[in-house]
């Protein structure tokens, strides 16, 4: 903007210099002392059709020794609609669009939590073990996939599949060699809970040693640009991931309800001794559950790593949300874990419409508390009978 007059004074009003902007609309005032200055734009010298946005034509920058200090007068066409509407136009999003986007993000996060929660819920259900090392199983999946993907150089898709399979095998071995052995020794579930805390420490810091403390990403699909779907912008990888997650959740959920092994798993959860008396090989069922649980947790890890990035604490960081999802839905029910996790995911994201994002977990956790007050047995849980 050429030819606008600008007056520079010291803080107390002593004039320093008056300048006129050049063809690019820029100007320069050398000052000799650091301190506060006052810069006034003479509005009358602006072109007819322009005005200063916000109306304020005075700036008070502080100039420091040896540094320059920039001042900016943003102009807009005169008579343009007021401040408020300005906000809405020009690529800004409405409350509803924002809510839609957040709801989508909530589903995205919720489904990942649900996968992890399903594994936890299965293991809790069949063995009564509150497994605090479950977060590390999630991390394990992500890191395995990373190893195959970046370390060996496979594409992420086969790498992810192999990682899930390997994690399943490791889940099996974990029960076979460790938890099963503990059960046989008659270790109580409280002791096992603490043992799982110990195991979580071992695993987490082993990851730290082998993977390092930094954040990493897979070789493919990093920072994929979003595509616009109505009010939502979503990266294609998210859509595919959500599809896979939902499919796995539903298949496993139905398998639990319908298949013989699924029913056996629930029977073992209820009463292992009676299950054995019915001819169910309890150890075998538990091993299947651990295999499944490990594989599903790993899948959750791969998906989390895909959607975000990888870090050795990634599982630990979402463990609280996993527990929240499991409990909210009703302990030990597979579909409960799904529903609960979705609710947790949704509320984390959508609550940021009202609370600052740094407190987004507060919103979700508060909802959790409220839901449990209304339905102490969880959303899909059932009350036990008394007497």
């Amino acid at each position: 903007m050429n030819g606008a007059k600008i007056a520079v004074t010291t803080e107390s009003g002593q004039p320093v210099k008056e300048v006129t902007t050049n063809a690019q609309g820029t100007w320069d005032v050398p000052v000799d002392k650091p301190g506060k200055y006052k810069v006034t734009l003479d509005v009358s010298t602006l072109p007819q059709n322009a005005e200063v946005r916000g109306g304020n034509n005075v700036r008070t920058p502080t100039v420091y020794k040896g540094n320059c200090s920039s001042v900016l007068f943003a102009l807009q066409p005169k008579g343009a609609p007021g401040q408020e509407q300005q906000q809405d136009s020009g690529g800004q999003t409405s409350m509803w669009e924002q809510a839609a986007q957040l709801a989508f993000e909530g589903l995205n996060l919720g489904l990942i939590i649900a996968l992890a929660a399903l594994g936890l819920s299965l293991i809790y259900g069949t063995t009564g073990l509150t497994n605090f090392s479950h977060g590390e199983l999630v991390t394990l999946g992500a890191i395995l996939a990373y190893a195959f993907n970046v370390g060996i150089g496979l594409h992420l898709i086969p790498a992810g599949i192999i990682a899930v399979i390997v994690a399943g095998v490791l889940g099996y071995l974990q029960d076979r060699l460790f938890w099963g052995w503990l059960r046989k020794r008659g270790t109580g579930i409280i002791a096992m809970m603490i043992i799982s805390i110990g195991l979580a420490l071992v695993l987490r810091y082993a990851f730290l040693i082998f993977f390092g403390g930094q954040t990493e990403a897979y070789a493919q699909y990093v920072a994929q640009p979003g595509i616009q779907l109505g009010p939502i912008s979503a990266a294609p990888k998210n859509l595919v991931a959500m599809g896979i997650e939902l499919a796995v959740l539903i298949v496993v959920g139905i398998a639990l309800l319908r298949t013989r092994t699924g029913k056996a798993a629930r029977a073992v959860a209820d009463n292992p001794a009676l299950a054995a008396s019915s001819g169910i090989n309890v150890d075998r069922v538990i091993r299947i559950v651990w295999t499944m649980g490990g594989a599903i947790a790993a899948l959750a890890g791969v998906m989390l790593g895909l959607s975000q990035t990888l870090k050795y604490t990634m599982g630990q960081d979402i463990l609280l949300l996993i527990f929240a999802g499991v409990t909210l839905g009703g302990l030990g029910t597979a579909f409960g874990a799904l529903v609960g996790s979705l609710v947790v995911g949704l509320f984390i994201q959508v609550s940021t419409l009202w609370v600052p994002p740094e407190l987004k977990n507060v919103g979700a956790l508060a909802v959790l508390i409220i839901v449990l007050l209304v339905r102490p047995q969880g959303i899909l849980g059932r009350r036990e009978r008394i007497g």
């Binding site: 043992i195 730290l208 409990t327 407190l359 977990n361 508390i369 449990l372």
Partner: protein
């Protein structure tokens, strides 16, 4: 390898500030979990509100130290009521998640930018411990520059400030243990233990389960808050992340290591935990520093320490699932 330092730091840690502050808070947790069966995963929040109650009263409001202690205690009681009134009707495992959630909410609020003026954001608050050290007899009464003794070649000395904190801490532990001991062999304690086993049975015998659970929550919370005070005073500051879920996990570990529902269980557990932590690290760091261990660098020592601590926990619980003081018969009963 510098064995003298290793032994000295290890022995000192057995009675040191961390042992004391975790120990006392774990005593509170033991009241909740060990005796009453309340799966309180928010014990750290009781420490937090106490520490912050003290800090905010002294630094932000400029009130005297003792008022701060009072505010901290009241805050702990209020937190117990706030957490308890809605949640004590819940089944045990649900209580766990609600207390975790409650504690996380407390922590997130402490560290939020929105309340930075009051709680100091992620760096927390400091500058409230002068009142405590002003009455430090080890500095003002006695003139020694440090307190302790030499165990053979191993020096075991604490500075007057540390000595004061540790002294007060152990007095508080003794008091808390005394109270717990008296209470748990009284009919009052019997009701708590019965609630742990079966609430409905207790109800059918005419005891108000809710009221007892609440009393337990408040008592354990107040004892836990002492840990918060000790933390704040010993480090002359409070930070929000100290009072996170991890701290509660470690306290659980201590309670169970020592033996749940045992008066001295949490204290011994805390000693064991810190001794393990310090000893393992001391040996590892020295071994790497002195070149005995070559396959890893200093960056990995910290991680390896936790791995070994984790392994230690696992082994302890495998071979002594009832903890140090626990009763094997009790464990046999709740094994599935």
């Amino acid at each position: 390898m510098d064995w003298i330092t290793i032994i000295s730091t290890t022995l000192k840690s057995a009675v040191g500030v961390e042992t004391v502050l975790y120990g006392v808070a774990a005593i509170g947790l033991n009241v909740h979990f060990g005796y009453t069966g309340l799966l309180n995963f928010g014990q750290a929040a009781f420490m937090g509100v106490a520490g912050y109650g003290l800090a905010v009263t002294v630094t932000v409001m400029g009130l005297p130290f003792w008022v701060g202690i009072g505010v901290g205690l009241v805050a702990a009681v209020l937190l117990a009521l706030l957490m308890g009134i809605p949640t004590l009707h819940l089944r045990a495992d649900y209580l766990a998640i609600v207390t975790i959630a409650g504690a996380e909410i407390v922590r997130l609020i402490f560290r939020s930018v929105a309340f930075k003026d009051v709680f100091g954001g992620s760096d927390g608050q400091r500058g409230f411990s002068n009142g405590f050290y002003a009455i430090n007899p080890f500095e003002h009464f006695f003139t020694a520059r440090q307190y302790g003794f030499n165990l053979g070649p191993v020096p075991l000395f604490f500075s007057p400030r540390q000595t004061w904190v540790i002294f007060v801490g152990w007095v508080l532990i003794a008091l808390a243990c005394g109270v717990v001991f008296l209470l748990m062999r009284s009919p009052w304690g019997r009701v708590l233990k019965a609630i742990r086993e079966d609430e409905d049975a207790v109800r059918s015998l005419g005891k108000s389960v809710f009221s007892y659970k609440m009393q337990s929550l408040v008592l354990g919370g107040v004892i836990g808050s002492l840990g918060g005070f000790i933390y704040g005073l010993a480090y002359a500051s409070v930070q929000p992340d100290v009072f996170g879920t991890e701290t509660t996990f470690y306290m659980y570990t201590m309670v169970i290591l020592g033996g749940a529902a045992r008066v001295f269980g949490p204290v011994i557990g805390s000693m064991l935990f810190w001794v393990l932590l310090v000893l393992v690290y001391g040996v590892l760091a020295e071994a790497v520093g002195a070149g005995y261990i070559t396959f890893m660098d200093v960056n990995q020592v910290g991680a390896l320490r936790w791995i070994l601590v984790g392994l230690g926990l696992i082994l302890l619980l495998i071979f002594r699932p009832q903890g140090i003081f626990g009763d094997k018969r009790e464990i046999a009963i709740d094994a599935r």
